[in-house]
């Protein structure tokens, strides 16, 4: 009886270890094998370039992770990027100095937050499934971006503004610095603050959360506002990197963001997930994209491979839950 119990716990520990670090191990193995295959893959320059590419959809993925942990989803991220990019670019273009840059970033965050506020309010108070609410926002935000910019790219000519996306501090690109800061703050929010604990409680069992006095509606609204704001931030980052806002920006980014969260082990059933693992998921996508590109793999094949990886990750999640 005793040995049976301890066996069970050993097995549980082993599974827990794999659940926790499995994707990190895959990331490391993926990186090492590509480094052997491709010369210069492990160089600092290449690593920073991967991080820079990951940073923008990676930030959206963090917001999406919060939504998925509550048992929801946010599909509007990519379109919000487009809307925020044109709003930010319109404000900042022709200006000088950092004042207007701050305003442009602030406006992008604000626009994103409003989109999130609508998503959250409809989901929490209107009792509409978040899939539908954010699907609607996905279409609306894209339309608003087109309307606002008259369907054309908007120039973002401001040295101060573009220096964020183009510049670097001690060799580290500005976008990467923003990503790291956002990740640290969000990680702390999710794992160490009341808000984060309530997010898990809602995803774990919304009825119990209510009984424990969690204000489910307000928490959900906060989650979608956060997700929207982060998508808005990603939009400003992209505009500053591309020297322009564009209503076609961020196309399908929401899917990469969801993929990053899911590959990082965030359960679509809710209640499980972490910002740290979401970064690992985003990095797996980034490393893979870069590696396949440098290997000269046909882009069509790249999409097929990416799709397979997403499905495998979700299958793995389903298996885990079946065992539990």
């Amino acid at each position: 009886m005793d040995s049976l119990a301890s066996n069970k716990f050993n097995k549980a520990n082993y599974t827990e270890f794999l659940n926790k670090y499995g994707m990190l191990i895959i990331l490391v193995l993926l990186f090492i094998s590509l480094s052997f295959k491709i010369e210069g893959f492990a160089s600092i320059r290449n690593v920073l370039s991967i991080l820079e590419q990951v940073s923008m959809f990676g930030i959206i993925a963090i917001g999406v992770t919060f939504a998925i942990v509550t048992g929801g989803i946010d599909l509007s991220g990519g379109s919000v990027v487009a809307l925020a990019s044109v709003v930010g670019a319109t404000l900042v273009t022709g200006s000088e100095g950092y004042g207007m840059t701050i305003v442009a970033f602030g406006a992008a965050l604000f626009v994103g937050s409003i989109c999130g506020l609508i998503n959250g309010t409809i989901t929490a108070y209107g009792r509409i499934p978040p899939f539908i609410a954010t699907l609607g926002m996905m279409t609306m935000a894209r339309g608003m971006a087109q309307l606002f910019s008259d369907g054309r790219p908007v120039d973002a000519s401001s040295d101060a503004f573009t220096s964020i996306g183009d510049g670097s501090v001690f060799g580290i690109p500005g976008l990467v610095i923003i990503y790291v800061l956002v990740a640290v703050v969000c990680h702390v929010m999710m794992s160490r603050m009341k808000f984060g604990r309530h997010v898990f409680a809602i995803g774990g069992n919304v009825k119990t959360a209510r009984i424990c006095g969690v204000n489910v509606e307000v928490t959900l609204v906060k989650v979608y506002v956060l997700a929207g704001a982060l998508a808005g931030l990603a939009g400003a980052m992209l505009a500053s990197r591309a020297y322009a806002g564009n209503p076609t920006f961020g196309n399908m980014w929401e899917l990469d963001a969801i993929a990053a969260a899911v590959i990082g082990g965030t359960s679509l059933a809710g209640g499980v997930g972490s910002v740290a693992m979401c970064i690992v998921g985003a990095l797996i996508i980034g490393v893979m994209n870069k590696g396949l590109n440098m290997l000269g793999v046909d882009p069509y094949w790249q999409q097929i491979i990416k799709g397979m990886i997403i499905i495998s990750a979700v299958l793995l999640d389903a298996q885990k839950r079946k065992k539990a």
Binding site: F9, A12, V188, R192, M193, K194, R197, F200, A201, G204, N205, K207, T208, A209, R210, I211, C212, G213, V214, N215, G271, V272, A324
Partner: protein, 518 residues
Amino acid sequence: MTNSDSILEMINVSKTFPGVKALDKVNLTIRKGSIHALMGENGAGKSTLMKILYGLYSPDEGGEIFFDGKPFTPKAPIDAIRTGLAMVPQEISPSANLSVAANFFLGRELRRGFLMDHQAMNQETAKVLEELGIPMKVETLMQDVSVAKAQLLAIATAVSYDAKLIIMDEPTTALTESEVRHLYQIVRKVQQRGISIIYISHKLGEVFELADEVSVIRDGEYIGTKKTSEITKEALINMMVGREMDEMFVREKVEIGDSLLKVNNLSLPGKFEDISFDVKKGEVFGIAGLVGAGRSEVVEAIFGYKPAQSGDIYIHGKRIEIYKPMDAIKQRIGFVTEDRKLTGLMLNMSVTDNMVMPELTPYVKSGLISDELASNVAKTMKQQLRIKTPTVGTIIDNLSGGNQQKVLIARWLLLEPEILILDEPTKGIDVGAKAEIYKLIVELAKLGKAIIIVSSEMLELLSLSDRIMVMAEGKEMGVVDRAEATQELILEMAAGGDVPTEHAIEIDTTELSIEGVA
């Protein structure tokens, strides 16, 4: 060994679950063409018995079951159905988006070639419904059909399977008086076709009206079978409750203080009406009633989970408004819900997280939750309540039911509640953990807390409560003092919905009390 007038014979059938003997050598014989009522308290083992017959559980070795004279060992519901045994579950769950006829033929659709033969199915369904006298249009969508009609359709479906024996599990729970009458007629028509019926019920009135024979099981044991024409109500109640009184938990006396919680004319239409009571410091207040009597709904309303529509709640004589659980938590009311998995636990979170969720503020240091502080508090609780878990960081899903329940009680103890509501506090947990929870409840009463217990276990209520409020069909039937409370009295009151009121009064004056309850 088998008897030719019996359709079903169960001999020495037992069923053991890990740690629990759900059925202990049960014998049950159903005569051909009879309506046979099966009675017993919640948890007596009725559903386990029926699940064995329906092939959902396999019985322990050593028992025998004969169906129509032949050995019967169903492995799945389909075996039972093929042999001629059909079940009408307590809660019907038809496919709401399909028609009456489509539900009637669900899983055995008639076809012509590759396509479904809707015409033939409609005709056949209409024919069976007409024969049984059930007025229903076969093309109506199930979502537009009342619960009562859905129940009748389920019976018709069972008949159409050429069932020789139909099990009906509390079919009248959700029906109105006239619907019940109609159901009785249909049940009798089914019987006239030579089909035998096992009729599970809590209601004495309908057992005497409908059944030819009645069997009672209690705590997994077969107590006996009687002809309804040869037994009195009182004798039947005695069969159901006649437990050894020395099994009872003996609690110590606690000094009862001033009134703490007062509830006045609390109503939620459709659920409960005009509920008034008060609970004093140090008092354990029980709420008794059958399933569906509205007990849980009353305590959910007090806690603000599903608030009442009218009525007042007073704490320490001051009227308070409770619209949501947070309002109750602020008044230091704790609430251990009836269904651990559904409304109690966050299954994929740790023991600590489950414990501290209602009030995280004490563990927050400069804006951040200190997991160390939280787990230290959880460890203390683990020791105090003797919760068996490897660590407080263990995911709560891995704990046994009794230990999960202790975690849930610990959750509310951490709030230092003045009022603690426990809905079915010992449901599905083993005897040892039960005794510990009983002791804990008395300890809490000693500390001057007001405790409300909702329970379907009569013995639990009788041994713990200072007073017991009995509910039936959403109404308050009365509050009984510990000294006067007997199982018989409470059962009579709880069945109040289907016995005339004069009868209930008559019972009050009858000498029925069993010694030793007080």
